[in-house]
C-alpha cells in the first residue's frame, strides 16, 4: 500500500486557445487535507475534473492508492472511491434529501419495490456520525444553501468515498456556514477521509489544511506544509509576486445625498418580487456596500436602478431628479454609471473593438460626429487609446483589439474605464472583481477608491465580504430583497454582518436594528 492516496503525474490538458494544465504533478497523502490554491484560470478545476473523470488528460498518469487507473468517466471515479462536491450543486429541488442521495441507485427489495426507508436510516446515521445535521426527509427547496451543500457531502459519503474533492465550497456560504463547513472537514479527516479543497481563499487553507499545492497559469509552482507558511507567502506564491493586502483609504468627505431610493419594489422577469420596499441613500463621496448572499435581490436592485427592469413601486431620485420611470438612456444622460455584474451579457459587446466599446453609451452625441454627420471613428480610437493607457489595459492590437479576445481582467478594466470617463453622478458597481486575477483586482479597487475621493457616489454590490469591508464607508446587509441593517465602516465585523445576511433567511421579517 502506497503512502499516497492520489498521485497525478505529469498531467497535461489543453483546451482551444489555452494550456489549462502544463505538466502538473501533485501527490496527496492518505488522510490528508490538501489544498489546491490558485487564481481563477490557474487550472485547479481542470485538474480536479480530470481526477473525477469529467475530462481526460492529453498526457500523464493517475494513481489511486498506488495503483495506476484510467479514469474515463465520473462513474469510474465513484467506484474508485472519489467523490466531488461541486460548486454548483446538482440537486433535484422538489425531491427530499434522501431521494437526491439515492438517485440512480435506489434500494429495492426483491420484488423491485423502492425501499426509501432503508436509505433514510442510512442517511440519518451518516448525518449523525459526521455532525451534518441534515433531515433526510426534508425537501431540498426547504433547506438552506449550507445544508444543500451538506447533502452533496452526504452523497459522497453514501457511496463510501475515501477521497472527497471540494470545488470552491465557500463561495455560496455565509461566514457562519463557512465555520461550520471547516468543522465538518475536520471531522471527515478524523474519520479517515482524504480531502482536496479547491480554493483561492487563504484563511480557509490556514484553518483546515495540512498541505497546499499552488498552481499558477496552468503550471505547478510548489507544494508546502501549511503550518510553515504565512498567508502572505501563500498569496505571493499564488500570484507570483508580493501582494499588498491592505488598501489605504483616505478619510471620508461625505457630501449631499446623490441617490435617494425609497420604498423600492422590483419584480424579476417572472414577476416575482425580488426587491421589497427597499430604502437607502448614497451621499457624494462615499461608497455604500450591499452585503448579502447571492440571490437576495442584489441583481434586481441594480437592474431596477439602471432601468433594465421596471419599478413596481417606490421612487428613485438621482441628484434631485426623479428617475423612477425614465428610460435607460435618460438615466445615463442624467448621470448614472453602471458596471454590470455580468460583463459579457450586459457590459460590453464582445464582437466590437475596444474603440467601439469605449463609446457604447455616448456615440450618438454630436461631439462624436464629423461635419458630414457620419461617426468619427478616429475620435473613438483616440478615446479608447487614452483609456487603454490610463487603465493599463493589455491588448494585442491597441484600440482595434476585439473586446472578446481580451482577458477578463482587461475587459473589466475597459468597462470601468468607460463608465468612469462618462463622469456620472452615481456609479453602480456590481461584482467588480469576480473572476479577475489579483493584479486586476488591486487596480480596480484602487480606481474605485480614487473615484470616491473625487466625490463620486458609489453603490457597490459584491458577494466577497472582504471586498465590501475593505472598500465601503457604509455597509448595508441585504436579505430577501430588504435592507436588514446599515452600518458605518468599522462598526461591525465580518461575523456580525454574516449573521445579518443569514438571520432573516431563517426568520423572515425579523428586522435587526442598526
Amino acid at each position: 500500500m502506497s503512502d499516497y492516496a492520489i498521485e497525478m503525474l505529469n498531467i497535461t490538458k489543453t483546451f482551444p486557445g489555452i494550456i489549462a494544465n502544463d505538466n502538473i504533478t501533485i501527490r496527496v497523502k492518505d488522510n490528508e487535507v490538501h489544498a489546491l490554491l490558485g487564481e481563477n484560470g490557474a487550472g485547479k478545476s481542470t485538474l480536479m475534473s480530470i481526477l473525477f473523470g469529467a475530462y481526460v488528460a492529453d498526457n500523464g498518469i493517475i494513481k489511486i492508492f498506488g495503483k495506476e487507473e484510467k479514469i474515463k468517466n465520473p462513474n469510474i471515479a465513484t467506484n474508485l472511491g472519489i467523490g466531488m462536491v461541486h460548486q454548483h450543486f446538482k440537486l433535484v429541488h422538489n425531491y427530499t434529501v434522501t431521494e437526491n442521495i439515492v438517485l440512480g441507485r435506489e434500494p429495492r427489495n426483491k420484488f423491485g419495490i423502492l425501499q426509501i426507508g432503508i436509505a433514510e436510516k442510512k442517511v440519518q446515521e451518516l448525518s449523525d456520525k459526521y455532525g451534518l445535521m441534515v433531515d433526510p426527509k426534508a425537501k431540498i427547496d426547504d433547506i438552506s444553501v449550507g445544508q444543500q451543500q451538506r447533502v452533496e457531502i452526504l452523497k459522497t459519503l453514501y457511496s463510501n468515498s475515501k477521497i472527497i474533492i471540494f470545488d470552491e465550497p465557500t463561495a455560496v456560504l455565509t461566514p457562519q456556514e463557512v465555520d461550520e463547513l471547516m468543522e465538518i472537514i475536520r471531522k471527515l479527516k478524523k474519520e479517515g477521509k482524504t480531502i482536496i479543497l479547491i480554493t483561492h481563499k487563504l484563511k480557509e487553507i490556514k484553518a483546515v489544511c495540512d498541505k497546499c499545492s499552488v498552481l499558477r497559469r496552468g503550471k505547478y509552482i510548489d507544494t508546502v506544509d501549511v503550518a510553515d507558511v504565512s498567508e502572505n507567502e501563500l498569496a505571493s506564491m499564488m500570484v507570483g509576486r508580493p501582494v499588498k493586502f491592505d488598501i489605504t483609504k483616505n478619510p471620508i468627505k461625505r457630501g449631499k445625498v446623490m441617490l435617494d431610493v425609497s420604498h423600492l419594489t422590483v419584480k424579476d422577469h417572472l414577476h416575482v418580487e425580488k426587491v421589497r420596499d427597499l430604502t437607502l441613500q448614497i451621499h457624494k463621496g462615499e461608497i455604500l456596500g450591499i452585503a448579502g448572499v447571492d440571490g437576495n435581490g442584489q441583481s434586481e436592485l441594480l437592474m431596477g436602478l439602471c432601468g433594465m427592469l421596471p419599478v413596481s413601486s417606490g421612487t428613485i431620485i438621482l441628484d434631485g431628479e426623479d428617475i423612477t420611470h425614465k428610460t435607460i438612456k435618460q438615466r445615463i444622460e442624467i448621470g448614472l454609471g453602471h458596471v454590470p455584474e455580468d460583463r459579457h451579457k450586459y457590459g460590453m459587446i464582445k464582437e466590437f473593438t475596444l474603440s467601439e466599446n469605449a463609446v457604447l453609451k455616448d456615440f450618438y452625441k454630436p461631439k462624436y460626429s464629423t461635419k458630414y454627420k457620419t461617426l468619427n471613428f478616429p475620435l473613438f480610437k483616440e478615446i479608447a487609446t487614452q483609456e487603454i493607457e490610463e487603465f493599463d489595459i493589455r491588448t494585442g492590437l491597441g484600440a482595434d483589439t476585439v473586446a472578446g479576445s481580451l482577458s477578463g481582467g482587461n475587459q473589466q478594466k475597459a468597462i470601468v474605464a468607460r463608465e468612469i470617463s462618462l463622469s456620472p453622478k452615481v456609479l453602480l458597481i456590481a461584482q467588480p472583481t469576480r473572476g479577475l486575477d489579483v493584479g486586476a483586482i488591486e487596480f480596480i479597487r484602487k480606481r474605485i477608491l480614487e473615484e470616491r475621493d473625487k466625490g463620486q457616489a458609489i453603490l457597490l454590490v459584491s458577494f466577497e465580504l472582504d471586498e465590501i469591508m475593505n472598500l465601503c464607508d457604509r455597509i448595508a446587509a441585504i436579505s430577501k430583497g430588504k435592507i436588514v441593517g446599515i452600518f458605518n465602516d468599522g462598526e461591525v465585523n465580518v461575523r456580525e454582518i454574516g449573521l445579518m445576511m443569514a438571520s432573516s433567511e431563517k426568520n423572515e421579517g425579523e428586522k435587526i436594528e442598526g
Partner: protein, 369 residues
Amino acid sequence: MKDNTAEKKSFFDRLLDSDVMISILVVILGFIVGTLLIAIVGKNPADMFSSIFDSMFGMARNNGTWNFRYIGETFAYSMPYILCGLAMGLPARVGLFNIGAEGQYIMGMTAAQSVALLVTPFPGLWVFCIIAALIAGSLWGGIVGILKAKYNVSEVVATIMLNYIALYSSRLISFQLPGATTYNTATLPAFSKLTKFLIPTSNLNVGVFFVIIAVAVYYFVINKTKLGFAMRATGFNKNASKCSGISTVKSITTSMLIAGAFAGMAGAIVLLGGAFPKGRIITGMDNYGFMGIAVSLVGNNTAIGNLLAGILFGILKQSQSLMQSRNIPKEITLIIQGLIVVFISLRSGLEIIKQRRNTKKLRKEALSK
C-alpha cells in the same frame, strides 16, 4: 518568439481567417460539384461553362460575334437579387432573419402597378411608382419589425405568414385594377416604364442606378452612421446594447423598414423594367425574395459581398437560356445555387477545424517542452 509563429501561419490558416476567401471557396466548391453532376448525366461541362462565360462577357458562341444583350440581361436579373440580398442582410446585421423579402417584394410590385394603372399617366410617373413600392415594402417589413421589437413575436413566423398574405392581397388588389383578367391587367403606360439604359436590346434599365444607390446606402448606414452603429450593437448583443441606453426597438424596427424598402424596390424594378408589358396578377411567388437569403449568405451580409453575390446569381439565371440552347439542363444553375448555400454552412464547420488545429498546435507545444 511570438512574431515568428505569426509569420509561420500556413496558407490554410490564413484562408480560414478570411471571410471573403471562404465565400469564394464555397462558390468554387459549388461549381466543382455542379460540373461533376453535369459530367455524370453525360453532358459536356464545357458547354455549361461557356454559357456562363457568355452571360458574363456577352460573346455569342455560335457565330463568334459579341452579343452585349447577354450582359444587359445578366445585370437586369442581378438587380432584384442584389436588392433582396440587401433586404435579408440588413436585418441579419441586427440579429433578425428576414424571410419576408418575398412578401415585401410582392407588396412593392403591387403598389407600383396600382400607381401605374390608376394615376393618369404623365412624364416621370415611374418615379412615383418606385416611391409607392418603397413605401409599401417598407410598411410590410415594418409591421414585422414592430411586432418583433415591442412584443418579441418571432420574425421568422411573422414574415412567412406575411408572405402568403402578400401573395393573396396582391391578387385581390390587382383584380380591381383596370383591364384585369385572370392573368394580367391592362397594359402599363409607357411613362411608368423604366427607361432602357446602355444596351437597348436588353431589359437593362435605369433601375441599375437605384440598385447602386441602395448598395451605397446599405454600406453607408451600416458602417458610417449612428443608426448603423446601434444596429450592429443590437445584432451582436441585445442585452448590452439595451443596458448602454441604445434603443433596440428602434434598431430592429428601422432595419425592417429599410429592408422592406429594398425588397419593395426590387418588385417595382422587375415589374417596370421591361419584361412585363402588362400589370401582373401573380399566381405564385417569383422567388427573388427567397433567393435573396442565399445571396446574403454568400455575400456575408456586407454591401460589396451582396453586390457580387447578386451578380453571380444574375449570371447563373441568364445562362439558363443559353444552357438550354446548348443541351445542358438549365436546372443545374439552381442546383449550383443550392450547393453554394449548403456549402456556406461550412463556415461553422471551418470554425471547428480552426479550433481543432489550434488545440493540436498547443498540445504539441505543451508536450514538446
